[in-house]
């Protein structure tokens, strides 16, 4: 770990004046005078400890007043401040009642200790866990290198990697909570140093590897996430979330699925929002599964059809073919948990 200075930000404006770079920028191309944000510090310090990120200054945004609130309004929906911890989300009764899939996703993220430390803003902005990306000895595409080691047909160790949209970088996004947030059509509120606020849908917050290899989201240097907003559910909204992991105690997702459905009285799906985690470099909304399920009765046969539709576009790598049947089973099960 390199030596760095520490700045305790007093407000978002103060923080935005101090910052000049992002973790992603620095990982792609290191500069000597980077000032970067740290909230819970869980992901940022992993990179610093590995020596892959060498900031000159760390701006602690964790104690900025006002970013740690959870507000629920039956009409407007839910607002979660970017500094709210995962533990606070996990124990919030209104989230459990109105956004069950999010509650489940947060409860399956990391460990109780890490949930006490991690903030929601940091969680959705964290970088992927590809072991080549995280290795100082492998300069991959995302670190200005000339190859994707994981993708290599003979030597790539890609059992945890992407089966969809894996044309360049084959990593999968590390935030399984984002899978649920995207399924609820959440938005991210971003403030910049000019004082401009924008509200970006989760679907547009993440950046595909094809679009910009350096980035996994749209955040720029002089921007900060202030809150995440979830629209109010209707009385017919139902949701479910399942995460498949090698170890139940603590592990990264091998495949996770969030399903949010509008269900009419006779168990018919009126509209479907189905998002897959650990399938693609960013959380992946399966239009195929959504279309297959809409206006259908929620039953085993239709759930399976939707699950299989989701996987028609899967192109597994040498060692992750198992993810296809895993997703089929998981999508089906998530849909059926709603019926």
């Amino acid at each position: 770990m390199n030596k760095f200075s520490w700045y305790e930000a007093k407000s978002v404006e103060d923080a935005l004046q101090q910052v000049n770079s992002t973790v992603s920028e620095q990982l792609y191309k290191h500069t000597d005078k980077a000032s970067i944000f740290k909230s819970g510090g869980v992901d940022v310090f992993d990179w610093v400890k590995e020596g892959l990120l060498k900031p000159q200054k760390i701006i602690n945004i964790r104690n900025i007043p006002g970013l740690d609130k959870i507000d629920y309004d039956r009409k407007k929906g839910m607002s979660i401040g970017s500094n709210v911890t995962l533990a606070e989300i996990a124990s919030n009764p209104e989230i459990k009642t109105n956004y069950l899939a999010l509650h489940q996703a947060v409860n399956h993220a990391a460990t109780p200790q890490l949930r006490n430390m991690s903030t929601l803003g940091g969680n959705i902005a964290q970088r992927n866990r590809c072991w080549y990306f995280r290795s100082g000895d492998h300069d991959c595409f995302r670190k200005e290198g000339d190859r994707c080691f994981a993708r290599h047909s003979e030597t790539g160790e890609n059992e945890n990697h992407a089966i969809i949209d894996n044309g360049s970088c084959v990593s999968v996004h590390a935030s399984s909570i984002s899978t649920a947030l995207m399924a609820f059509n959440a938005s991210v509120v971003i403030l910049n140093s000019e004082g401009e606020k924008k509200k970006v849908a989760m679907d547009d917050f993440f950046v595909t590897a094809a679009k910009d290899i350096a980035m996994e989201n749209i955040l720029q240097a002089k921007e900060i996430i202030t809150e995440i907003i979830l629209p109010a559910p209707s009385k017919n909204t139902k949701s479910a979330y399942i995460k498949q992991v090698a170890r139940e105690s603590y592990d990264w997702s091998l495949g996770d699925v969030a399903v949010v459905l509008e269900v009419s009285g006779n168990a018919t799906c009126r509209s479907a929002s189905i998002v897959l985690g650990a399938a693609a470099p960013v959380p992946y909304r399966s239009m195929e599964a959504q279309q297959a399920l809409e206006n259908k009765t929620i039953n085993s046969e239709n759930a399976l059809a939707a699950a299989e539709a989701a996987m028609t576009i899967a192109r597994p790598l040498a060692k992750n073919g198992y993810k296809v049947p895993l997703f089929v089973a998981t999508i089906k099960q998530a849909i059926l948990e709603i019926s």
Partner: protein, 781 residues
């Protein structure tokens, strides 16, 4: 030698307990009855250091902080195979806070040109090349990053299959030998035979070589199972990494080591630095796990000592987690071909085994002796090959070879039983001559409720349950060079001393128990000072040898000291010391109940400050199977596994393990259970989770951390029920043995058999993962 005859308990209580007469050396203590009749032995005695460990008072090697101490860090290779052309240390040297740099160089014979070059050839990623001592660990790390190593890269080979191909890059182009360390416990390997990357075969063990006629054996067979099994490379992952603190400021080199073998570290350091053994003192008070990989001073011992010599300051050198994974040992993988034949009635007619495994740049990838000895079979042959690859060296790992071997053998026996239409337990009753395992099977089957087992794959629903069983054997090894000193001080204190270390299993506690039982005192009255090579030499903590090697001399020395004390009391009471005894801290007389003296009072009769007696491990009563210390009997176990397999997602959950073990006379049931739990957990992990992932393109280990290297946490650990079967063999004054290795042998095999029982498809490779289950079920295209 003067001897006397005594009757000893013999056999298994509740099954066949009887008596046997032994002729024993006259100076040995009288026979102990079975545990039921003893006060402290065989009971659940709390670890004497439990509180210190829990509150953090226990000082481990990494906790050692000495005045003026410097912190050291290794320079390591980041390429898998290369010749080092130069190393530029100029920038590192001038960094403020750096005190010394030591590079590892080839030793040069006087007058000879060094044909191998100045530096050793790099053969794996993570190979130590040098070290730096600095005022802080951070400075040392920064300095390491400033060293520039120039490599002339060579082609390399990482995976075992490629390494065996003709034309593969050669890892060593010469015959190699490897010094056995205490953790090898007779593991076979022979690097002088064979060429290229494939060395061997080893065809024999201390149980002999091939026997009978395999061709004839298979001709006689009505049923044959012929399979190839594969196991993965498994790193040790002790919570405490390897390392030392070396203080060489005085005449004596003081080495604080995280080690399973203080004596071996002492001997190695003395040899390397050309010092008499009396000038090296090795300490190990608390150990954070070793599992076989910590029998030597490694490269960190000499590195720390060299830096201490250069700087004149104590050196702290503990490895980090990545270094631990890369270079401090692993359980080699295996590809095992097994062919087993049996007659219709089940009688085994032939076992043929051929294995290949890689211990990286080291030897020792054999699959053990389990196929050779577990079952009665007249015709047997094995060929065990080492395959060299450009990866970190293997090391002994809790029952070296046998864990891999059991995974193959116990699945093959299961498959054979099914072909013979026999229940796996009934079939083992037929082919396993061990009496103790027979009892273990019966008691275990009852506890586990084996009768609920259904035909393979017959369960309905997506999640299928399965039950399986696996067995193990492990030799009763005894280290004859095992001594202790017992001191009774004139203030009533009692102390036991030995260089033997407590690897964490509770050696200190059982020593206190043995001494306390013999002296009629309580465990809290005994001070245990071990893990110091200035005390009499004890065994290394490997091969499950410690209990069987050190507790008999502990009891014998205590008995001698007791006799000396009682003589003083007898003199005062004007009676014969043979009539005196100690019970509940009081000395009494068998003849005159009115005579009583507290133990502490008796010690005031001593003319000197202490009574001190040293005893060493005597030969087993009735001798050994092999004179070097291979005892009769074995440490057998039977483990039962219950699993749930999700046939849609491929996930396997181990719901329950019943582990039934024997270790002669059990000394401390709580500690034995704890050790069995540990072995089972590592077995579950071996079967389902842990796997060293190497990138074959770059030679790097991709999961050299605790995040992606998957050790099990609380929710992965099944319900574990343990049962320890008492078995008396009348072989020593304690008749007790260890349980470390056997606890780990059978688990993965039992789980694999249970998975087969659940889904009706057999997995021949571990770790068993969702990917392998879905593939086995035909769900992956």
């Amino acid at each position: 030698m003067d001897t006397r005859k005594e009757k000893f308990p013999y056999g298994i209580p509740g099954h066949n307990l009887s008596e046997i007469e032994r002729e024993i050396p006259i100076e040995e203590p009288p026979v102990w009855p079975i545990n039921d009749k003893l006060k402290i032995i065989g009971k659940r005695v709390t670890r004497i250091d439990a509180l210190d460990k829990v509150i953090g008072k226990a000082k481990y090697t990494s906790d050692i902080k000495l005045p003026g101490m410097l912190y050291a860090k290794f320079l390591r290779s980041n390429v898998p195979h290369a010749v080092i052309t130069s190393i530029d240390i100029s920038k590192a040297k001038s960094l403020t806070g750096v005190h010394a740099i030591h590079l590892i160089e080839n030793t040069q014979k006087e007058g000879e040109e060094n044909k191998n070059g100045k530096y050793p050839i790099v053969k794996y990623v993570g190979q130590p090349l040098g070290g730096i001592a600095a005022e802080s660990l951070e400075i040392a790390k920064d300095a390491i990053a400033l060293i520039k190593v120039n490599y002339e890269k060579k082609s390399f080979v990482i995976d075992i299959d490629t390494a065996m191909e003709i034309g593969a890059p050669i890892v060593f182009d010469e015959p190699i030998t490897q010094q056995q360390d205490g953790g090898d416990v007779g593991e076979t390997h022979d690097g002088s035979k064979g060429k290229g990357n494939v060395r061997g075969p080893s065809t024999s063990s201390f149980f002999g070589g091939p026997r009978g006629d395999l061709v004839k054996g298979f001709e006689e067979a009505d049923v044959v199972v012929e399979r190839t099994y594969r196991t993965q490379v498994h790193t040790h992952m002790p919570l405490e990494t390897h390392g030392v603190v070396v203080d060489w400021n005085s005449d004596v080199m003081m080495v604080y080591a995280s080690t399973q073998n203080t004596n071996a570290v002492r001997n190695e350091m003395a040899s390397i630095f050309n010092l008499p053994k009396s000038k090296v003192r090795v300490f190990c008070d608390f150990m954070g796990g070793g599992f076989g990989a910590k029998h030597s001073s490694g490269s960190f011992g000499p590195m720390a000592a060299n830096l201490a010599k250069k700087t004149g300051r104590p050196i702290w050198l503990m490895l980090d987690r990545q270094e631990e994974h890369l270079s401090e040992g692993n359980r080699p993988n295996s590809i095992q071909y097994l062919k087993i034949g049996a007659k219709k009635n089940g009688t085994l007619t032939g076992i043929q085994q051929r294995s290949h495994g890689t211990a990286g740049v080291a030897l020792g990838a054999g699959v053990g002796r389990i196929a050779q000895i577990l079952y009665t079979c007249p015709n047997f042959a094995t060929e065990q090959y080492d395959v060299l690859t450009n990866a970190g060296p293997g090391a002994a790992w809790r029952a070296p070879g046998n864990v891999q071997g059991a995974f193959g053998l116990e699945q093959a026996i299961d498959e054979l039983a099914e072909k013979l239409n026999m229940d796996p337990l009934t079939y083992r009753d037929k082919i396993d001559k061990s009496e103790v395992r027979k009892v273990e099977r019966r008691r275990g089957a009852k506890l586990f409720d084996w009768s609920r087992r259904q035909p393979a794959g017959s369960g309905k629903g997506v999640v299928k349950k399965g039950l399986g069983v696996g067995q193990s054997t492990w030799p009763r090894f005894v280290t004859l060079d095992s001594s202790v000193e017992v001191k009774i001080h004139n203030d009533g204190g009692v102390e036991i001393r030995s260089s033997v270390q407590d690897i964490g299993t509770g050696t200190k506690t059982i020593l206190a128990q043995v001494v306390a039982e013999e002296l009629g005192l309580e465990v809290k009255d005994i001070t245990v000072n071990i893990g110091d090579t200035f005390f009499p030499v004890g065994p290394g903590s490997g091969g499950s040898v410690v209990t069987g090697s050190i507790t008999p001399p502990a009891r014998n020395a205590t008995y001698e000291a007791k006799k000396a004390l009682l003589k003083l009391v007898a003199k005062k009471w004007e009676t014969d010391s043979s009539e005196l005894f100690i019970e509940n801290g009081q000395i009494g007389s068998k003849k005159d109940a009115s005579l009583k003296m507290p133990f502490k009072g008796a010690t005031k009769l001593m003319r000197t400050s202490q009574i001190s007696k040293i005893a060493s491990r005597s030969d087993d009563y009735g001798g050994f199977q092999q004179p070097w210390g291979l005892a009769y009997g074995d440490l057998g176990s039977v483990q039962f596994a219950e699993v749930s397999v999700n046939t849609d997602t491929g996930f396997v959950k181990v719901d329950k393990i019943v582990a039934v073990h024997s270790c002669g006379r059990p000394l401390n049931i709580g500690q034995l259970e704890s050790q069995i739990n540990g072995g089972v957990i590592q077995g579950v992990s071996y079967a389902l989770y842990e796997n060293r992932v190497m990138d074959n393109g770059t030679g790097h280990m991709m999961n050299a951390n605790v995040d992606q290297y998957k050790v099990p946490f609380s929710m992965e650990i099944p319900e574990i029920e343990t049962l320890v079967v008492e078995e008396y063999s009348a072989l020593s004054s304690t008749d007790a043995y260890g349980i470390g290795e056997p606890a780990n042998i059978a688990t993965a095999a039992a789980i694999a058999n249970a998975v087969y029982n659940a889904i009706g498809v057999r997995l021949y490779e571990i770790p068993i993962t969702p990917a392998s289950i879905l593939k086995a079920l035909g769900k992956v295209s």
